[in-house]
Symmetry: C2
Amino acid sequence: MAETDDTGFQAAGRDDLTSRARIRNAALHQFAVKGFAGTPLRTIATEAGVAIGLIGHYFGSKEGTREAVESWIVGLFASALDRADSQSADTVADVTVRDETVAQMLAGNPLVVDYLRRQVLELPTDGMLISRLASLTMESVEAMRNAGQASSSRDRVEQVVTAMVRQLGRLFLQPLVDQVIDSFPEEEQPAIHPELRVEIKTAQ
Amino acid sequence: MAETDDTGFQAAGRDDLTSRARIRNAALHQFAVKGFAGTPLRTIATEAGVAIGLIGHYFGSKEGTREAVESWIVGLFASALDRADSQSADTVADVTVRDETVAQMLAGNPLVVDYLRRQVLELPTDGMLISRLASLTMESVEAMRNAGQASSSRDRVEQVVTAMVRQLGRLFLQPLVDQVIDSFPEEEQPAIHPELRVEIKTAQ
DNA sequence: CAAACGATTGAACAATCTTTCAATAGCTTA
DNA sequence: TAAGCTATTGAAAGATTGTTCAATCGTTTG
């Protein structure tokens, strides 16, 4: 693996990407849309424009391909948080800046949202991804506490949960709204889709 | 098909169920936990304690098995709404009673919640289930409008969306909260899981 | 009793899937 | 140029899947 990998964030023509990156992108796309079990490796190979054998060559197995996709996603979150800190005037960015930066990253990678939404359902057997993102968020919370930008009296775990629900809750639930609305004939559908609001009411 | 089918709601010993019902229950269980594509028919047969061939005999195909599961779920919602009406003093139950009755039904059938949550994510390709439940909810909304128990000035579709989000939103999002909390060592986890609140903010 | 019928089984089949691997092409380095 | 990499291919193997079907069992019906 002598070649560098793209982050998918900087603009890059489809044909400029390495085979490895194209495979990873195709896997993310298929897993997000059809699910892990519902995606044959052949489909990934076709979408990436490579031969089947190349997937095994780079990622070892189908499970290894999933791992690569998830590590890439974790990297996306990590770099978004780093960006928030570096763009902030303070040493550490506050909640608003962090949320906004993550939201922008997710808006630019809708497939990541689709993938994550699925992961939350798939049983904790192999669902390490959410746990990895939780760790990342915990680091973020710690940094904010140390900088006095987050309450130090509230429970840490609770702060992590709140942050993740704030970032992901609305995005996860949107398909419910969309599917319900789309199930009605077009002339009955409201022009503007109702806006979802998801909150956590901290236990008393 | 001379035999009657259970509703799964009244208590019934596992061994009292017909093969048909046991297959349907096993299918619901596996689809909810592993997903449709991730569930081999052999697994369903084993859990139901029958031979593979019997599934085809009763449901024709794997797709037919899914259909049977979904029809059973639709029936569960329909009978819950009927029950709400019959228990109400008025001719038509009000929103609170309906929501409460549906909530009780879902609490008694957690696998149904898991199954539905998956349906919302799995692409609308074949996902007729949400659409069927939306129709059911629309009938419910119409009944309430006619009885003067629901505003007649607001948009019908919007009322349906609101009702379904109210009934399902929190349940769908709970796994996110649980997975995040469970990803921390047990001694750090808060005693009481934070309470989720999901609302719809009607478009202005 | 005999015939008929639904319930049930498990093997067989064809299709599809993942993984493996030998072979080729292309590029770098000594 | 020769040798040694890595990238890439596509066929083959081996496992798994959904579906089909002939055969058996048990009960009901004539």
